[in-house]
């Protein structure tokens, strides 16, 4: 079974040429723009790709549009962490020889809405029957629902929640591609427009256009590409519920707590091995839940941990170093951008580079705490 001892590497990674507001591209073309940039990054052509994974569009559409004839596809679509899960599935496919070179694409016209179907809610679904009638208006009124319970149980303050956005803006300030770069204070956050109490505008993710793509192959080929390879050390995935109202515990994500530790144990790492961390931040409470569900902080301790600067520039656990969904960009399914930042950090090419970053953990969420995927990556092959 020596084939299974092989490893997988990310050998191509790129985002769309532009990020932010891209009114002259359809959602499909955002996928393609990112894919073409990733192919160029890896020195490959579409005909070199034999595996396609995507979410938001069908792999059929992506393969046809790019002129790829795949013999492996994955259309897992469980929200913004789908791309972490695609990485996990691609590892299994590559190590069992089902295909040799996988392209994972994301594109989303989240701001401009170009070439994007207007999905009407399904009134027969469980969410349609038991949540939609009560006035939910998208993620700001659903993803946010658990946090008052967290605040009461653990004493998290409004100021600590605001601090998540403040710290991520510090990272974004070092990133020329970040949508929001001017420094902000806790007072700025708390005086920004209320969106859904207790969440203010600056505690909610941006709404932007963009895309990203990754190319993966087996590690024995990783030296054949122009960029330094990034090795996939471990992965995890899980789902919990399509209804935020049915989370088992409003103060913890079960999907995080399954996917994250699984990825870290697969990678054979402990918390002290982690140089760099990405936690999908659709809203300011996500990094708090993620830090605790991953085990970097005890229950109820993550708000103070962030407030004390441990995840800020210069801190020992650099977190969301691109500025995150709160300040870098958020097209809707942000997971791809978190993966891109992990790759940049391990290549040593990030705008806010963490000195000597060798191990990165990238935790994604899908839906409203509905799903999670986690990828642990290293700048060297796993020992």
């Amino acid at each position: 079974m020596t084939r299974y001892d092989k490893q997988v590497a990310i050998v191509g990674a790129a985002e769309t040429t532009e990020l932010g507001v891209i009114p002259d591209m359809s959602q499909l073309q955002l996928h393609a723009d990112a894919a073409l940039n990733a192919l160029a990054d890896a020195g490959l052509k579409p005909s070199d790709i034999d595996g396609v994974a995507t979410a938001g569009e069908s792999p059929t559409t992506i393969a046809h549009y790019l002129g790829i004839t795949p013999n492996w596809v994955d259309g897992t679509a469980v929200g913004g962490c789908s791309f972490m899960i695609h990485v996990r599935h691609a590892v299994a496919a590559l190590l069992t020889g089902q295909c040799h070179t996988v392209l994972i694409t994301h594109g989303e016209s989240g701001k401009s809405g170009i070439g994007r179907g207007r999905g009407r809610g399904n009134a027969t679904s469980l969410q349609g029957q038991f949540e939609a009638p009560f006035g939910v208006v998208g993620p700001p009124t659903m993803f946010t629902l658990p946090v008052l319970r967290y605040m009461k149980r653990y004493g998290l303050t409004h100021e600590q929640l605001a601090m998540v956005a403040v710290v991520q803006r510090q990272w974004a300030g070092m990133n020329p591609r970040a949508s929001k770069r001017e420094p902000i204070t806790v007072e700025d956050v708390l005086s920004s427009r209320m969106i859904a109490y207790p969440f203010h505008l600056l505690e909610c993710c941006l709404v932007t256009d963009g895309g990203g793509a990754l190319i993966l192959t087996t590690a024995d080929r990783a030296g054949d590409f122009p960029q330094p390879p990034v090795y996939v050390w471990g992965t995890g995935e899980s789902v919990e519920t399509p209804m935020v109202s049915q989370m088992a515990d409003l103060t913890s994500s079960r999907a995080f707590a399954v996917a994250g530790p699984r990825a870290m144990s697969d990678a054979g790492i402990s918390h002290s091995d982690v140089d760099h961390l990405m936690i999908y931040d659709a809203f300011a409470h996500l990094p708090i839940y993620g830090l605790e569900d991953l085990g970097f902080c005890g229950r109820g301790e993550a708000g103070a941990f962030i407030e004390e600067g441990h995840t800020a520039p210069g801190g020992e656990l650099p977190l969301n170093t691109n500025g995150g969904g709160l300040s870098y960009m958020h097209s809707g399914m942000y997971g791809m951008y978190a993966l891109q930042e992990s790759v940049r950090q391990l290549r040593g090419t990030a705008p806010a580079q963490v000195e000597g970053a060798e191990v990165s953990v990238c935790l994604g969420v899908g839906g409203m705490f509905g799903a999670s995927g986690c990828v642990v990556m290293g700048s060297q092959p796993k020992a």
């Binding site: 006035g135 700001p140 008052l148 109202s245 409003l250």
Partner: protein, 139 residues
């Protein structure tokens, strides 16, 4: 209400729930084998997979588990309104709205006792909403 809410379309598995709200009952299901009480409706127990389950009328008593107060417009609501998670006395949690109560953080206190009230939307759909429990009622 200035406009209508997006209304549920019952399925065979949930029809009893929506028949119940129209009849003034909050109907839950209990497993005949392991006694687990659960929501949302389905014709089997999510704890033990038994297909032997019974529908019963819940007490309608609940406590406020968590909420947000939405400040963005919704055609069916006027002004800011709370979207609430309530934990029923029997255990399950459900989403709803809190009526007969100011929609402010000061008035909406976590763990406050609530009781169900039913608001007809049309001939077939009645929504279960919650209001602060009357004096003397226990949760």
């Amino acid at each position: 209400m200035s406009g209508s809410r997006p209304l549920p379309e019952p399925t065979p598995e949930t029809q009893h729930f929506w028949d119940g709200t129209r009849a003034g009952e909050l109907r839950l299901q209990r497993c005949d084998d392991c006694a687990h009480v659960y929501f949302p409706p389905r014709p089997f127990c999510p704890a033990c997979a038994s297909r032997s389950v019974s529908v019963f009328a819940a007490s309608g008593r609940a406590r406020l588990d968590s909420y947000v107060i939405n400040h963005r417009p919704h055609p069916a609501f006027e002004g800011h309104y709370a979207i609430a998670l309530v934990e029923l006395e029997e255990g399950p949690r459900m989403m709803s709205n809190i009526v007969s109560c100011e929609q402010t953080p000061e008035a909406l206190v976590l763990d406050m006792p609530l009781e169900v009230t039913f608001e007809p939307q049309n001939d077939s759909i009645t929504l279960p909403l919650f209001r602060p429990a009357a004096e003397g009622s226990k949760t």
